[in-house]
C-alpha cells in the first residue's frame, strides 16, 4: 500500500538522520544547524497540525506556548545553574512542555467552551498577546523586554541539540500518528467535520478539544524549550513572535493539513527556503517568506501530500469541494 511505503521511507530517513553526526565534519556544517531547525519546526508544526489540522480549531497562539516553554526552561535553568548543568535535562524539557500545556488548558477552557471558528482564532490571538505583554511587564521575574539568558557552558557543539531535536521530532510525529489512529483521533476528526453530529453521537466535544489543545500546547512548549537550549536565552521579541505561529501553519498547509507526514515535509521545505533566504538575502527574508506564503496559498492550498493523493485517485480527507449551496462548510459560528 502506498501509505506503508511512505512510512518505510520515513523510517529509513530517520535512521539516516540519526547517523549524520557520524559523517566527519558534519557537526560543524551549516546544514547541521538547518536540520536542527527543521526538527524544532517539526515539533511546532505537529503541534498546530494536531489542533487545527485534525481537530479543526485554528489556533493563533502556538507562539505563546512556544515562548512559555522557552521561558520555563531558561528561568529554571538559571535558578538551578549550580545544580544540574548536564546536557538537556529531560525533566526540564518535560517541565517546559507541561507548563505550556497548563497555559493551554487555562486559556483553552474559556475559549473552547464558548467559541469556535473565527472567534476562537481571534481569542487565541488575544490571549497570546496578553501572555506576551505579561512577560514583558514581568519585571525582574521574567527579565522584561530584554529577556533572560543562561550559560552555554556545558554545550560545546550542536550535537546534543541535534540528537534531542531528532528524538523530539520523531516522537511528536509518532505521537500524532498514534493518536490519530486511536479512538481519540477519530473523535477529534469527527469534531472537525461536524461538531454537532459528533456531540450527538455522545462525544464530549469540549473535553476532546481541550485535550488536543493541551497536547498541542505541550508540543509547542517542548519546541520552545529546545530552541531556548539553542539560543541560550529567551525574550519576548524572539520567542513570542507571531512568526513562530505562522511558519508552522505554513508548513502544515503546504505539506498537507491533517496528515501525519505533511508537516514534516513542509518543515523540511520551508526551513530550507527560509534559511537560504536568510543567508543570501537577509534583509529581504520576510519578503520572500511572505511571497512564498501567498504563492503556496494561491496555488497549492491543499498541500503537497494531498496533491499526490489526488493524482493517485484517493479521496482527500477534507475535500474543499462541494457543499450544497446555501450551506457553509468552513464557517463555524459560536457554539450553541
Amino acid at each position: 500500500m502506498a501509505g506503508n511505503r511512505l512510512y518505510k521511507s520515513a523510517a529509513a530517513a530517520v535512521l539516516a538522520l540519526a547517523l549524520v553526526p557520524l559523517v566527519p565534519g558534519a557537526v560543524d556544517h551549516y546544514a547541521f544547524f538547518y536540520l536542527f531547525l527543521v526538527f524544532v519546526h517539526i515539533v511546532l508544526a505537529q503541534s498546530w497540525n494536531l489542533v487545527a489540522g485534525y481537530t479543526g480549531q485554528i489556533s493563533l497562539a502556538q507562539h505563546a506556548f512556544f515562548g512559555v516553554g522557552g521561558y520555563t526552561t531558561v528561568l529554571i535553568a538559571t535558578a538551578l545553574m549550580d545544580e544540574s548543568g548536564f546536557y538537556f535535562n529531560p525533566l526540564l524539557l518535560l517541565a517546559s512542555g507541561l507548563t505550556a500545556a497548563l497555559f493551554a488548558l487555562a486559556i483553552g477552557y474559556p475559549l473552547l467552551s464558548k467559541l469556535a471558528g473565527d472567534y476562537f482564532a481571534l481569542g487565541t490571538l488575544g490571549f497570546g498577546e496578553i501572555i506576551r505583554i505579561g512577560l514583558v511587564k514581568g519585571g525582574a521575574a521574567t527579565g522584561g523586554s530584554a529577556g533572560v539568558s543562561m550559560s552555554s557552558e556545558p554545550f560545546e557543539t550542536l550535537l546534543p541539540h541535534y540528537l534531542v531535536g531528532l528524538l523530539l521530532a520523531v516522537a511528536a510525529t509518532v505521537l500524532v500518528a498514534v493518536l490519530m489512529r486511536s479512538r481519540i483521533g477519530l473523535a477529534l476528526m469527527a469534531i472537525r467535520e461536524d461538531p454537532v453530529a459528533a456531540a450527538a453521537s455522545g462525544v464530549n466535544v469540549l473535553r476532546f478539544k481541550l485535550l488536543a489543545f493541551a497536547i498541542g500546547g505541550f508540543l509547542a512548549g517542548l519546541a520552545g524549550s529546545l530552541y531556548a537550549f539553542y539560543v541560550f536565552s529567551v525574550s519576548p521579541g524572539g520567542f513570542l513572535n507571531l512568526s513562530w505561529t505562522l511558519y508552522p501553519i505554513l508548513m502544515c498547509v503546504m505539506g498537507g493539513n491533517g496528515t501525519v507526514l505533511g508537516p514534516v515535509i513542509g518543515a523540511f521545505l520551508m526551513t530550507a527556503v527560509f534559511t537560504a533566504a536568510n543567508i543570501w538575502l537577509p534583509g529581504a527574508h520576510p519578503i520572500i517568506s511572505g511571497g512564498l506564503i501567498i504563492a503556496v496559498m494561491l496555488f497549492m492550498p491543499e498541500g503537497i501530500l494531498r496533491l499526490k493523493a489526488k493524482r493517485a485517485g484517493r479521496q482527500p480527507a477534507k475535500s474543499a469541494a462541494a457543499t450544497p449551496p446555501g450551506e457553509s462548510s468552513n464557517m463555524q459560528r459560536r457554539q450553541a
Partner: protein, 240 residues
C-alpha cells in the same frame, strides 16, 4: 408546436461526489404551470438548483428559451429571465421590504424599469405596499413568502421557479399564495413549482412530474396524476 420554454434533458446532478439526479428529463411549456412532486430527498430541490445555476450539472443539458444555460452562473441566468425563489425564501432579513424588492431588479436589463416593476408588484401584493420600510426579517411567514415571490417578479422573469412556497405556512395563507401563483400565471409568467403539498401542486399544475430517488418515474397532466391510484396511495393517502 412551440418549443418548451425550459427543457432539461438527461440530467445528472448532485453535490460533490454524491449524485442526486439520474437522467432526468423535464419540459416546461411556455405559459404553463408545471409541478414537481415527490417525497423528501427525491431530488426536487436539486433539480431546481441545477436549473437556476446554483449547482453545476454533471451530465446532460438545460435549455432555456432556446439557449443552453447549463453551467452558467446563477446571476447570469437571472439576467436571461429565469428567477428562482429558493427553499427558505432567501430574503435579506436585515434589509427592508423596499430594499429587497429593489435588489430584485438588480440585473442591468431590468434595473431601468424598477419603478414600473415596483408598481406591478404592489398591485399583486398590496400588503407589501404598506410595509415598505419594515425589516424583512420581522414579517410573518406568509408576508415573507409574498416578499420573496415579489422580489423574484421584480426581475420581470418569463419563468418563475418556486421551491416549496407553502412551507411553514398555515392553510389560509397557503390559499393566498396559490391564488397569487395562479394570478401570476394568468399574467403570462410560466411557473415551475416544487411543492410538498401534493394536492395543491397537482391541482394547480398543467403538467406534473413525479420524482423518486432522483429519477422521473411518472409524468402527466395535473388532473391525470391526481386521479392516479398509485399516486393517491403513495402520497395522498386517500382512498378512491
Amino acid at each position: 408546436m412551440k418549443p418548451p420554454l425550459l427543457e432539461v434533458r438527461g440530467l445528472d446532478a448532485g453535490y460533490g461526489d454524491t449524485q442526486a439526479l439520474w437522467d432526468v428529463s423535464v419540459a416546461v411549456a411556455e405559459g404553463s404551470v408545471v409541478s414537481l412532486v415527490g417525497a423528501n430527498g427525491a431530488g426536487k430541490s436539486t433539480l431546481l438548483k441545477t436549473v437556476s445555476g446554483l449547482l453545476k450539472p454533471q451530465r446532460g443539458q438545460v435549455w432555456f428559451r432556446g439557449r443552453s444555460i447549463a453551467g452558467m452562473a446563477p446571476q447570469a441566468i437571472v439576467a436571461t429571465g429565469l428567477s428562482h425563489v429558493p427553499e427558505g425564501r432567501g430574503l435579506f432579513t436585515r434589509m427592508t421590504v423596499l430594499e429587497n424588492l429593489q435588489l430584485g431588479a438588480y440585473p442591468g436589463q431590468v434595473r431601468g424599469r424598477t419603478e414600473e416593476s415596483l408598481a406591478r408588484v404592489f398591485e399583486l401584493f398590496p400588503r407589501l405596499r404598506e410595509r415598505t420600510r419594515q425589516q424583512a426579517g420581522l414579517m410573518s411567514g406568509g408576508e415573507q413568502q409574498m416578499l420573496a415571490i415579489g422580489r423574484a417578479v421584480m426581475a420581470c422573469p418569463s419563468l418563475l421557479i418556486l421551491d416549496e412556497p407553502s412551507m411553514g405556512l398555515g392553510p389560509l395563507v397557503v390559499e393566498e399564495v396559490f391564488g397569487l401563483i395562479r394570478r401570476l400565471n394568468d399574467s403570462g409568467v410560466t411557473i415551475l413549482l416544487v411543492e410538498q403539498n401534493i394536492q395543491r401542486a397537482l391541482q394547480i399544475a398543467d403538467r406534473a412530474f413525479v420524482l423518486q430517488t432522483g429519477r422521473v418515474v411518472m409524468q402527466g397532466t395535473g388532473r391525470e396524476l391526481l386521479a392516479d391510484p398509485d399516486i393517491r396511495k403513495a402520497y395522498i393517502g386517500s382512498l378512491g
